[in-house]
Symmetry: C2
Subunit: 771 residues, 2 copies
């Protein structure tokens, strides 16, 4: 073990990552990748580096055609009894899915099944039983014992290289099954094409094109085993297809150098091994040679890669040094861990990547990132990254968005993009607030004019989501476009961020245009019922109207009038006036939180989880709503609701997430909220105060300054904020600004057991357009 | 019309191609692209430049799932009543098929059908009736009137750019249907994926991946119309597929910038036009940007491209200046025309191409060519190109073969490759004699050692075509591998060319090895029956044995014992001894040619056509056989048989080819034979004398020298050669050497009405290993 330690130390020294503060150990020790792997969190337990291109993780089940698939969006479901194998790509917390590329299962002994088999019948295939007692999951490391094979499996991952390590039982031959038919959310016809090939040096390369969530996704791989390949077989299990071509050498039997088809499985044989088999693996969207180049771009064996990635996680999680109870820290750092995966690196080591137009592009001066779950992540995930990740990472993200717009056949920014592919999932053009927020918070080093052009292009592309109608009528009409009410308010918010960005760039003409559009939310707000509602193109609100109704294709997106009626981040004061003023707003907020759902049935809506009355924490439209009491002048009510939400919706356990983590948004909400503030309106440069859930937390900001939040007196009983000071001066407002954070200093929340009911005057309330 | 002429003249001047000799006009005027478009010639009538990347030609029918497909291997069948549209890729004379990429049909008026419709029901779709009276087919140019649309359609093609020109009837709106579902030899599931996109400048780009003859072929296109695109619709006609993704903007309706899917059809609308619509089109195997770059690589409108290509054809066809009857010249130049298409240019203007491993490669210092129908073309097509095409073209071909081997996942040379994709069609490793023949004939400028390595790798790759067994037993055993007899003799011949090449490179060790393998044909020749026969691994010949039996999966490849027993080009003397000597050989040859087939039924064998007894001119194994009388000392019998074959198997008409042209091999046979000599054993540097069918023909050789063949006295009656002189000296042998041709000069055949029965002594007979 000393040898291992020395190698780790050397690797650390070599990569200059020893500079990570010792305190960083706290974050690393409290981050638990297993949080959210049960329930409907949809996180994965496997190995990934911060924002890494490869997410190497076990798949307990895969195919939608075979079994229930929603619960297997990340491949692994904590309650499952078997592991099918380990694949290289996974989403963290998505509500839909895909990926699971290039599944490998180790098999020991003389019988090598090429089918996964039935989980209920041990030995019926290559899958194996496992127990959680054998599992180890740490940031960048996962290990488990495959009981039926007697194989200890370990996973680690660097930025573009992952390493699998399999210790086979003594006296049994080592085999791998590489199943190119396996994929997450699989169904017949998803695998358009695949190929596998043995190179003369024993490296296995190949490719797959799939028609899943993304329409035609190409991914290439390279796998280099530590032991020589003795024999192998490539098998096409789809014999019945009327392929009109001819036979190549050997017809896909043993020893053939390459096989292509729609249903390929490979058996790789290594014979008896006297040490664990390690597989260095890499991916590329460009081609197999690029996957090989990526493989070469990060050197080292399992231990070396593991050491580097551990150091990288300590560094990344060390950006916030928190103090608090063990449960609080485990909640906090597990969430923080889950915010540091997406958008993930997607360009190759040489800068090339396959863009939204399916063409190969060269990223010049930046690293292309993909996996943009923007409807979720514009809210808190991206604002968080601006505080805890280096400027270079945030710049990469913005440049990736701009490049994606320039390479989009539609000329618009990503909606829900992964691996460079647009999926058209969810609504809005929420890359717009991400860019505006970054720019307005001072991030530079990208082309501001090109960014604004991309934002405007996205907001004016008529064929997308009823935008032609929106621009004509000032709202999206429900008889022309589904989910019209949600689209209208989200467009209006996005438009406001364009106006802010345009003004910052001196484009006052554009600012005026989009300021006007930012008020469009009013066109969909029905003063009579007090709810946001969908209107038809003739101007009438659609009837019948039931504010609790949730249906796909309805007036709202994954929600109803209760949740969506609060979505005017740019103009809460204007909204509140229409609702009848502060007191009426507080009553309505309470009515929502305290709603009696006993007569409702939402079992048909997968994404609706984490209900507190009609507040739905498991989905994003509610995420800012608890903070709205502060806008209405009653911050103590926000403080109460935050405690209610944190206590009921987050646990540091496998079923600890109330809903899909959504590529870090659910977790980012918790990170901000536990720090004591939240970016209700990205683009405003304000963080609205809530109440801290940590005794003390210090952010090391991208500019190197340190900003501390302290909460003297914090306890279960002391749940209210008595007063707040910023650098020792009393703060008579309910927000801090980005500039204040970036200057460094200390924000001090004096906690107490009773509410401080001093109503906050309008001047102390957060940003609102119409104030 | 004067204006057009002037433009042509200017274009010619600008490209310095006016240097083409005036005599070149003869070739251009007598070459008829329609020859072979009926019957089973499988040639196409459309526009192509010499060895051009784009073959723009009408498709009268396409899908194998719908209709008889063998007759539509080149898309167009002369007897069909309708044209579906015009597509960009076609094989010339293949016996299997694929391609037909990116079919466009012009539609005039207000109704634009998106389905091709039933040929029997005019107006039921976008296809249209046509008559041959309206057709014009010239090298590099094709025109026809689409009667149902009233559209005059013209096609021309440069090396990487083709131009389509459509004159729409006055007062009717101009539309194009771009049908990405259409393909030659189409069947359900062939189109793996496709996409189409309108760029901001109105250029249409897209891609298709197909699973046809080649396993996963990717091709990208760019189409730039001369008139602005007014509106468009992209439609996915495969609504029923359980695609799990989400909807993009507009769901594939009018005006959407891009659509992807498996069944895409595009409608492009140009409104009323006051001049013909021109489409500049280009392809690439790399990506859409590369297709755009290829489009930019050749400038000019329809007339400019047409002028350049006309000049290029005059130049290429001018390499042989022939004199003779009109029928003879039409036969000769139509055949010569058909030898100048494949292998065709495949790399992009910047040198990139997608190679056999599906990866993008850069051709350094050469132009990558593909479409290698090597089982056919090693015989006469490639030897012809060494005489009539510049060294650069031949070098490109050899370098493309070597690069293909280096990029092959199997490490072997192409077998039957097109668009960089291996199809594994037919047998042998006949890239080997192509390379050896070129090298031994003095072609240099490529890496001889790499070439030899590639040849040896191909001849020793065990999993291919029973090579493991062949190397073990000295023959391919029929109980282990089908078509074993054919494989044994073809491998043995290929091996002999490796030995010759190895010796030339000083690799005497390899030469000895492969000289020994070259004698392996003996292991499959049954002296008792006098036929080549398949043996089992236990050494016994397979029974029952019927020398007239032709079956797929039998002992022979597309033939029987009658044809295959003659295939020992490297050792005819050895073969003749086993057959019982010259007299027995002549008797056997006669028995073959004069065989009574009346009791046989070969209707099940598509490729068996052009029968003269058991001599089958429509397929390649017979191609050298008429010349074997000369090897047996009776050249006058060769002269008789050649006249019999030429008269019965070739006509300058649409049904003028006795069988598939096979990428020029059937035509190359005729070109050589009409010149008076034939390369029976490529690799020997000898051309075996037959008799000329032209009064006079002068080759302008790649080294600039001129070699004339004259036939004083040639007439229908004077069908025999009295004597032959080379540069005035009487030739007392039945061959001329490559070196003699390359020195320039005159080969004079004095023709007469009676045979010169002087038996040729062994010393005057062509090359044979065992003599």
């Amino acid at each position: 073990m000393q040898g291992t330690f020395q190698r780790v130390a050397l690797a650390l020294a070599a990569t200059s990552l020893l500079a990570a503060p010792l305190a960083a150990q706290t974050g690393y020790e409290h981050a638990d990748p297993l949080v959210g792997t049960g329930g409907e969190g949809h996180t994965f337990p496997g190995a990934v580096a911060p924002f890494g291109m490869v997410q190497l993780s076990p798949d307990t089940d895969t195919g939608c055609a075979i079994r229930e698939c929603y619960g297997h969006a990340a491949g692994y479901r904590h309650g499952d009894p078997t592991i099918q194998g380990f694949s290289l790509t996974h989403f963290s917390g998505a509500g839909h899915s895909d990926l699971g590329d290039f599944l490998i299962a180790p098999v020991a002994g003389d019988t090598v099944p090429l089918e996964p088999g039935d989980p209920k019948k041990p030995g019926s295939g290559y899958r194996s039983r496992f127990t959680h007692a054998d599992e180890v999951a740490r940031p960048g490391y996962y290990a488990v014992t495959l009981q039926d094979q007697g194989v200890r499996a370990e996973m680690t991952a660097g930025t573009r290289v992952a390493v699998e390590r399999y210790a086979f039982p003594a006296g049994k031959a080592a085999h791998l099954v590489l199943d190119l038919r396996s994929s997450l959310y699989n169904y017949p016809g998803k695998i358009l094409w695949s190929s596998v090939r043995v190179r003369p040096d024993g490296t296995i390369t190949g490719a797959r094109e799939t028609r899943g969530w993304a329409p035609a996704r190409k991914l290439f791989f390279a796998i280099r085993p530590s032991a020589p390949l003795k024999t192998h077989a490539f098998v096409d299990t789809e014999g019945k297809v009327p392929y009109r071509g001819f036979q190549g050498p050997g017809r896909g039997d043993d020893g053939v150098a390459q096989l292509q088809g729609r249903a390929i499985v490979a058996r790789l044989d290594f014979g008896m091994l006297d040490r664990p088999l390690e597989l260095r693996v890499a991916l590329s969207s460009v081609d197999e040679d690029a996957a090989l180049a990526n493989l070469a771009s990060e050197a080292g064996d399992f231990d070396a890669v593991h050491a580097r990635t551990t150091a990288a996680w300590k560094q990344a999680l060390g950006a916030i040094e928190a103090q608090g109870s063990d449960t609080a820290l485990r909640n906090f750092y597990s969430a923080f861990y889950h915010t540091l995966m997406a958008p993930s690196v997607f360009s190759d080591a040489d800068g090339r990547y396959r863009g939204p137009d399916d063409q190969v592009h060269q990223a010049e001066g930046f690293t292309f990132h993909s996996t943009f779950s923007l409807w979720d992540t514009f809210r808190a995930e991206h604002p968080l990254l601006l505080l805890v990740q280096p400027e270079a990472r945030n710049r990469d993200i913005i440049q990736s968005l701009i490049a994606s717009q320039q390479e989009s056949p539609f000329g618009i920014l990503p909606v829900w993009q992964f691996q460079g592919r647009e999926t058209w999932t969810m609504i809005g053009y929420h890359a717009v607030p991400v860019i505006a927020d970054a720019y307005l918070k001072g991030l530079r080093g990208f082309d501001g004019k090109a960014a604004l052009d991309a934002m405007v292009a996205s907001a004016t592309y008529g064929p997308y989501g009823g935008l032609d109608w929106y621009q004509k009528l000032g709202y999206v009409p429900i008889d022309k476009e589904p989910e019209a009410a949600s689209k209208t308010v989200e467009y209006a918010y996005d438009d406001w961020t364009i106006a802010r960005m345009a003004r910052a760039l001196g484009r006052y003409d554009l600012a005026a245009t989009f300021d006007k559009r930012a008020a469009n939310w009013r066109n969909s707000f029905d003063v009579k019922t007090g709810f946001l509602r969908a209107r038809k193109s003739d101007g009438a609100y659609r009837t019948p109207f039931d504010p609790t109704a949730i249906n796909y294709g309805s007036d709202y997106t994954e929600g109803n009038a209760w949740q969506y009626s609060w979505f005017v981040p740019q103009d809460q004061a204007g909204l509140f006036r229409l609702m009848g003023g502060d007191a009426a707003v507080v009553r309505k907020l309470d009515a929502m939180f305290d709603f009696d759902n006993s007569k409702l049935d939402y079992s048909h809506a997968e994404d609706i989880a984490g209900l507190i009355g009609q507040y739905i924490h498991g989905n994003e439209p509610s995420h800012h709503v608890a903070y709205l009491y502060s806008y209405a002048g009653q911050p103590w009510r926000t403080q109460e609701r935050l405690k209610q939400i944190v206590d009921s919706q987050y646990k540091p356990t496998t079923d600890g997430l109330a809903g899909n983590d959504d590529l870090g948004q659910m977790s980012a909400w918790l990170v901000f909220t536990m720090l004591g503030f939240y970016p209700v309106a990205p683009g405003s440069n304000q963080y609205v105060l809530g109440r801290p859930f940590l005794e003390r937390a210090t952010l090391t900001l991208p500019n190197g300054k340190r900003f501390t939040v302290s909460a003297p007196g914090l306890s279960e009983a002391n749940r209210y904020v008595g007063n707040v000071t910023l650098n020792g001066r009393k703060l008579d407002r309910q927000f801090v600004t980005h500039e204040e954070l970036m200057r460094g200093g200390e924000l001090r929340f004096a906690m107490q057991a009773t509410p401080n009911r001093t109503v906050v005057p309008a001047a102390g309330r957060p940003y609102s357009m119409s104030r």
